[in-house]
Symmetry: C3
Subunit: 349 residues, 3 copies
């Protein structure tokens, strides 16, 4: 249950640096590689000769060479050549629109004819020299929508991440959700509290006192198909919170790109962008290591939840106000998937 006519993060450039990458996305097995002039290509991971995995091959002269019998595959899914063979009549494989931007490789796993580069979200933090970004990737065995639920309701920080970013004040503060077109925004503000360990460290990184009360905010923004960017931070109390002058706050964007692999597994690209000390790679590493540990705590919870739901498929769950962000996001996804299905039905055979 995922829309396919949309852009997903497929991988990061380092994953295709030394050799092709085979990755399943929205049920499509895809080989990613860097082709002519460094342009990223994505073709079905299936050699039309005998079904070998093209991703086990290598790149030669910008083309992907099948590692089994040397069939040379073009970026457009058409066979370029094969030793001793005429390939004019060889069947094509699917090729997928890809864009390399913002430090990610994005793929459009659905109908290539509908791919529209302008639909890619704009990520200012990824282009501005005033921002730094660090992140990682987890493979998680659960429906990607459970991860959306997880991120659109940060109440869980109190419980899952007790020693880092969780604190009692989170679930004591009301949460507000609003829907603007296809965007869902869930926000929570906590005023005049002490910062939890992660944010105390961030204040110190920012040369700010960490032992004084702060205002804290969490503003999750969902946009389809499954991008969630969360404004997070703390400001010294009474300085304006999220709107405070940079001199008084430590702020960042939690970046979450969630890419379905199958119906019950997904790739989770997580990271954090910050606009303080952007040229400090050691700080980037320290934050990423800390965040990786925090987000790793979600894995066990989500995979156990998936097992429980699979064992109890007919059981109805509660939908509380704190769940509104996830519920609204799923509604948008339902609508998009339904539209794709209707379009598919309407097309002439």
């Amino acid at each position: 249950m995922f829309p396919k006519n949309t852009w997903y993060v497929a991988c990061t450039p380092d994953e295709i640096e030394s050799k092709p990458l085979g990755r399943q996305i929205c049920g499509e097995r895809i080989a990613f590689y860097r082709g002519h002039e460094g342009k990223v290509c994505a073709v079905e991971d299936f050699c039309p000769h005998r079904g070998a995995a093209l991703s086990l091959g290598y790149v030669d002269g910008g083309n992907l060479v099948c590692g089994y019998h040397g069939l040379v595959m073009g970026c457009d899914g058409k066979v370029v050549s094969m030793p001793m063979q005429r390939v004019a009549g060889f069947p094509c494989v699917k090729s997928y629109p890809v864009i390399e931007r913002y430090g990610f490789i994005w793929v459009w796993p659905g109908d290539a004819a509908q791919a529209d580069e302008s639909l890619l979200p704009h990520l200012e933090w990824a282009e501005s020299p005033e921002w730094a970004y660090g992140g990682g990737l987890y493979h998680i065995n659960c429906d990607y929508r459970l991860m959306i639920d997880n991120l659109m309701d940060l109440t869980h920080e109190t419980y899952v991440h007790t020693t880092s970013i969780g604190q009692d004040e989170i679930d004591e503060s009301p949460v507000h959700t609003k829907v603007e077109g296809d965007t869902v925004i869930t926000s929570r503000y906590m005023e005049n509290i002490m910062a939890p360990p992660f944010w105390r460290a961030a204040l110190r990184y920012n040369d700010l006192a960490d032992d004084v009360p702060v205002d804290r905010w969490q503003i999750s923004r969902f946009t389809p198909p499954s991008h969630i960017l969360i404004d997070v931070g703390v400001a010294h109390a009474g300085k304006g919170g999220f709107e405070a002058d940079p001199a008084h706050k430590a702020a960042a964007i939690v970046v979450d790109f969630i890419t379905p692999e199958t119906e019950t597994s997904h790739w989770y690209f997580w990271g954090m962008a910050r606009n303080f000390k952007p040229n400090d790679p050691e700080l980037t590493k320290a934050i990423r290591d800390g965040q990786g540990k925090i987000f790793g705590e979600d894995l066990e919870v989500l995979e156990a939840q998936q097992r429980n739901l699979r064992a109890n498929p007919d059981r109805r769950l509660l939908m509380l106000n704190i769940d509104t962000g996830g519920v609204q996001s799923r509604r948008i996804l339902d609508r998009l998937v339904q539209a794709e299905q209707q379009q598919a039905t309407a097309e002439p055979a």
Copy 2:
């Protein structure tokens, strides 16, 4: 194929000492934890909010707190509270009758209304200071009834446990089985033989000569649902065997509590109670280590047997006199399961 309206061993107290325990018993996923005033609780391992595993949470003030969003679950399966929420209308989850006794946590996985504490077996060795007990737990991928068969016919000791408790005289001695109500008793007596290694050591532990002939006994007692207690021991020959004065024998009870997890897997709580040197913890440890090794030898045999039976579902097996103990035990189980099914059918909808 297991009765559910009965007491099974669920776990040992050390397993819920530091955090809740999630364990599947008779197909029910259950969270065990120590609640108010140290009383053990057992509730369905499913948070009614979003289906998270409650066993991944923590205990606070005697209640189980869901580790995802902080729902507070009571021992009775009713939601106590949740931050910022009114929980009066929240659905309940199942709670399970539990008893902590004899060093074990016992659970009644079926209809709670029928739970009857008086049906718990009495285990004198577990309460008397004249006895010591040591044991362990194995997870085994086979139908729990294969383990019942295994224990109700100790002929296999000759073959599976050749270097410890097996000896040729076992299968050269006749076995007798009798049924008394719901109890099946299989006994074998071997007279004037040399003790095998395990029992020679036991004689020495007991300050008895280990190089003289002994009389040996094995008396397996099955009671539903799957408790098997085996009187075992050796006495210097001609002193009365099982009935001999304690001064002439080394005797013990092999303790086996077999708890189905699924139709084809179970939890095996094994141990040994002895009434000699009960205050010697090193001896307890030595015996437990030896027994753990012996019982580990059964695992491979039973799991291979399960694979063979699954691959040959229609093949009829032999039922020899040595199998009578297992056959009679299964008959009692069949009857109990059938009675549960009839009762379920007879109940008004």
Copy 3:
């Protein structure tokens, strides 16, 4: 999809040296062991008493003793004895014709009545003192026919085995396939080329210059059910190639016995026979180690191909001239399987 009324390599003698071996072949679970007078036996790996795996037992006096309750199984599948039991009425299990020859144990997994020792292939290199053999065994999770395809088209050496036996000239040389009865022969000759690393070493082992042009040959011979013997080698250029005098060449036979385990997994017995320096065990070991590494490279490719084919069951593959060897071999297999099925249908009930 495999013929069963034929000889397959089941194992090597070292595998049954110290204890019985349980191995599934063509879907049949079989226990192999060395019985009376050292004769190899093969019986169904299923104890008729309670379904235990006989292969977990031990051999006593030439009979296989079940490790569970001591049933003694004869080489003919009839129960010999069991402690305290009359076994006359016990059911038999299947026994399988076996032959130990050429350093292998061969089994006939189908109808024992049709087993015909004369159908075993003659392997001169396995009996002559002028030849040495070294080999190994891999378990591979793919249809055994994918391995046949792999070996009947050595084009893949260029790609899969780039650092050892692969070289560009392979796929630049035409390949010829002919069918002679049930034998398929695919051959490729490369003239006046430089030898790849593996063959340069072979030339040196053979006291021949390795820095001069050579003629190279690959002649794959498939015979049912799945034996592929490949004449391979190099001769100093212009000396006659495959037909050259031994003084000018380094030649060997690549030995491949492919035994289906299930429809999608097989046992791959690989090795190399050479007729130079046959009495040099260190050379045998060096070649085997090198070959084991090379053949290990095929595993990943074949298992990924199997996953791709399973995910795309209806997709048609190409059949190029280089695939002719595999295609013709499969045709022979189809015919044999069909004949077995017709025979089974025609037999009176």
